[in-house]
């Protein structure tokens, strides 16, 4: 029934795009659409009202009427305003001048505080900090155990003198934790607290008690990105209660699109510091306001995508692969490994969702069957090393055997081999710095470019002519036409088994 905010806004802008000049009624119609879109995306009503009012004011002003392309200008204004609310630049955690830095987590029940504590600890450890986790949620059954398990997984000690389950004083635990951290010279203390409702005065004063006991450098308000209109009440209650110095958005890997981000950022005035994007302990990244704004405006999130890819692809392997591609030694074995790498980056769908114009590919995305990857894997696993290294030996009887072994059909085996050959071709072209133009494939959308292209380009990007960006994924994106004014009817290609 409802498309996401991105879809709606791109529909709205499509109507504007054709116009040379905008009338006041054009603007009002557009603003009505934007208002509705924002509300359907769960942006809180009072935030929407302010937002619309300021866009209207700017849009009716000189800014637009004198502009060469008014539709573009409205897009710009909406984008500016979004970015303004979400924060202009990506903010960082405030570290204390003399350690330990104390970070206190607060939020509603089930917003994801404990999981986040684990992720944050891991991330800090990777930043060469020495964090310690503090189990001050003595309310929820086994919240303490959960934190201990997470601590063990990420290799960070957990201060947990009380077992919880309704027993123990969290304020005392927090206080003791700070003394312990100072003595044992931990650089960061992360205090996990119980989930609490904004209206629960008793629990809120407990949170204030914890705050006063630990004197935190950061009070991070952990917000479920699926939060609805209640975001306003909740944000006000936490801001006026325990106080908020920063926001973390969780469950951003879901299909809700950040309405709560706008509401909470606007109400608390605090910067959004991190976003949490999955259940794995790595699914955690700094929050980039400008990316979020362009995500909402359907300009894609190419930068995030590329960074995610960089993290998952092992550098060494990439180099070897790049050489192989350049020397035409790219084999099915590599194809398989690369696919597995891609998988590490997260679900294909969420990956594809970050690409520009992805809103337009929504239908195809819905149809994209991740089990296709599993089938491809099965087929390659059924091949001998000889076959994997040189698919040219694959004659009829070999193909039949592989089909049997993998529980697929000869047709599927044939399809895979064809796709592999196409992908190899794509990558070869990419590694030479060109943009391949193979019907049925989209270098941006699929692994051919995200994986191979990135790898190939890394080696040779600077020398190549005609490329705007050193990063092929980015470059391809540029060539695809990243701006809102040139939407691409892109389809996911078939290099890795997507069939439309």
């Amino acid at each position: 029934m409802f498309g996401n905010l991105s879809d709606r806004l791109s529909d709205t802008f499509k109507n504007l795009r054709g116009k040379g000049r905008l009338s006041a009624s054009d603007i009002d119609a557009t603003l009505r659409d934007i208002r509705r879109a924002l509300l359907e995306a769960d942006v809180a009503l009072e935030v929407v009202k302010d937002f619309i009012a300021s866009i209207r004011e700017r849009a009716l002003g000189d800014e637009v009427s004198k502009a060469l392309n008014p539709a573009q200008q409205v897009v710009q204004i909406v984008n500016d305003e979004l970015t303004m609310i979400l924060g202009k630049e990506n903010k960082r955690i405030q570290f204390a001048k003399s350690p330990p830095t104390v970070i206190m987590l607060a939020g509603l029940q089930g917003s994801g505080k404990t999981t986040l504590a684990g992720k944050l600890a891991k991330w800090l450890k990777e930043q060469n900090q020495t964090p310690i986790l503090v189990a001050a949620d003595l309310q929820r059954p086994n919240a303490v155990t959960q934190l201990q398990v997470l601590g063990e997984k990420v290799g960070v000690p957990v201060f947990a003198p009380e077992l919880g389950n309704g027993v123990g004083n969290p304020i005392k635990v927090a206080k003791d934790a700070i003394a312990h951290a100072k003595k044992a010279q931990f650089s960061v203390v992360i205090v996990d607290t119980a989930g609490r409702l904004g209206v629960d005065e008793e629990m809120m004063s407990q949170a204030i008690g914890i705050r006063d006991a630990v004197n935190p450098d950061e009070i991070l308000f952990v917000v479920d990105s699926m939060l609805g209109q209640d975001a306003v009440n909740v944000a006000k209650a936490f801001k006026d209660g325990v106080g908020v110095t920063g926001i973390v958005l969780t469950k951003l890997d879901g299909d809700s699109r950040g309405g709560a981000a706008l509401s909470v950022a606007n109400i608390t005035g605090a910067p959004i510091l991190f976003s949490s994007t999955g259940e794995g302990l790595d699914a955690f990244e700094p929050f980039y306001p400008e990316r979020m704004a362009s995500r909402i405006l359907d300009m894609g999130d190419v930068v995030s995508l590329i960074e995610q890819a960089q993290k998952s692809f092992d550098e060494e392997e990439s180099k070897i692969l790049a050489d192989k591609i350049a020397n035409e030694q790219f084999t099915l074995q590599d194809f398989l490994e690369q696919m597995q790498q891609l998988r590490k980056m997260g679900s294909m769908k969420s990956l594809l969702g970050m690409l520009p114009g992805a809103g337009k590919m929504k239908q195809q995305l819905e149809n994209f069957d991740e089990s296709e990857i599993a089938r491809t894997e099965a087929i390659i696993f059924s091949m001998t090393p000889l076959e994997r290294n040189g698919p040219k030996v694959l004659n009829g009887s070999r193909r039949q055997r592989i089909a049997k072994g993998s529980g697929t059909s000869v047709t599927e085996v044939n399809q895979l081999v064809n796709r592999f050959e196409q992908a190899a071709k794509v990558m070869k072209t990419m590694s030479k710095g060109g943009i391949p133009n193979i019907p049925g494939t989209n270098p941006v959308a699929m692994g051919g470019a995200v994986g191979g292209g990135y790898i190939g380009g890394k080696k040779s990007s600077k020398k190549k002519k005609g490329s705007k960006s050193g990063n092929p994924a980015k470059r391809a994106a540029e060539n695809q036409g990243l701006s809102v004014s040139q939407p691409q009817e892109s389809k996911p290609g078939s290099a890795f088994g997507v069939q439309n």
């Binding site: 309310q139 997984k153 609805g228």
Partner: protein, 331 residues
């Protein structure tokens, strides 16, 4: 009140006479074969919504502001507009203008919209054990809901087995175990972390059968509805259970503080897990749960339970009338 059928045990002998009158007229749905367990109709302790719901209106009610008020309560743009138009029409027709008149009109209208009054759990076909599968996104309140439900059933003298099929989240099993202790019921746990949830579900049902328990409640890991692999896993859990018995209820737990995304949750879970009823949690906060009206309109699923706190008794069976009353109440 609701009638349920459960296994007749020796220790129930005394209780039997007390509930004998309720038992009448249930013979037709009871078992006829000699090998089937004898069943007893029981009435479970009642829980009511009470003062759990906060009113939509902090001040006097006005039709002009109603649409915004409804939007603020997560009814969604479309449903809010519809209800406002409908109220306006009815108010004109009936000449309702005063605050109490308008509130009454709105209450009737809201109550009618959630017309299905079948919050009773389907625990009466006599084929024991009944299996309740609990699903939902991360942090919705599945495990807590199960704890409350188990205790309530236990209070009604039912034997309950819990299945800890959330093998993913750290310490989820321990959390359920704590609830199992509080509710005094058996729990089947995975052999190790990350074990196959379907096999845990299977074993829990197996345990329920072998211990002649009345009910097995299966907890599952939270999953966001757009994760295909995780959603497919739910299908697998379902199939594993149904190798042994039919599933009586698949309850989808929704967090009242979630906004319009709840719609997407219900759609996806219904498709994969054949949801039979909704549980809405965290209604003790400032969230109003207006999304229920939009959900009902599109999917026609009964709302079974609501969660109104963290304590073991903090839940109620849903009643459209009570819920609507709470929403329009003059506080």
């Amino acid at each position: 009140m609701f009638k349920f059928l459960k296994r007749l045990r020796d220790k129930d002998a005394d209780a039997q006479s007390e509930v004998a009158e309720i038992d009448t007229g249930r013979k037709d749905s009871g078992p006829t074969e000699g090998s089937e367990p004898e069943l007893l109709a029981v009435e479970l302790p009642k829980r009511s919504l009470g003062s759990g719901i906060r009113s939509l209106f902090s001040d006097s009610m006005s039709i002009d502001e109603l649409e915004d008020v409804l939007i603020l309560a997560d009814f969604g743009v479309e449903t809010a507009a519809e209800i406002t138009a409908e109220l306006r029409r009815e108010a004109n027709k009936q000449g309702a203008t005063t605050d109490p008149e308008l509130r009454l009109l709105l209450k009737d209208l809201l109550s009618k919209r959630l017309g299905r009054n079948d919050s009773a759990l389907n625990l009466d076909d006599g084929k024991l054990p009944y299996v309740i599968l609990v699903v939902g996104v991360n942090g919705a309140g599945k495990t807590t809901t199960i704890g409350k439900l188990a205790r309530w059933l236990k209070d009604g003298d039912w034997e309950v087995v819990l299945g800890a099929a959330d093998t993913y989240r750290a310490a989820a099993v321990d959390q359920l175990e704590t609830w199992a202790k509080r509710a005094d019921c058996l729990i089947v746990k995975p052999a190790k972390e990350g074990a196959d949830p379907a096999s845990v579900a299977y074993q829990a049902v197996e345990m329920a059968i072998s211990t002649e328990a009345d009910i097995a409640i299966i907890d599952t890991a939270g999953r966001l509805q757009n994760k295909k692999d995780l959603m497919d896993e739910l299908g697998k859990i379902r199939r594993a259970i149904e190798k042994q018995v039919k599933i009586s209820e698949v309850l989808l737990v929704i967090d009242a503080t979630n906004g319009q995304n709840a719609m997407s949750q219900v759609r996806a879970f219904t498709e994969v897990a054949a949801v039979t009823g909704i549980v809405m949690t965290k209604l003790d906060g400032t969230a109003k749960g207006g999304i229920l009206y939009a959900l009902q309109k599109e999917l026609d699923l009964p709302i079974k339970l609501v969660g109104v706190g963290e304590q073991i008794n903090d839940f109620a069976f849903f009643s459209p009338e009570e819920f609507a009353k709470g929403l329009v109440a003059k506080k």
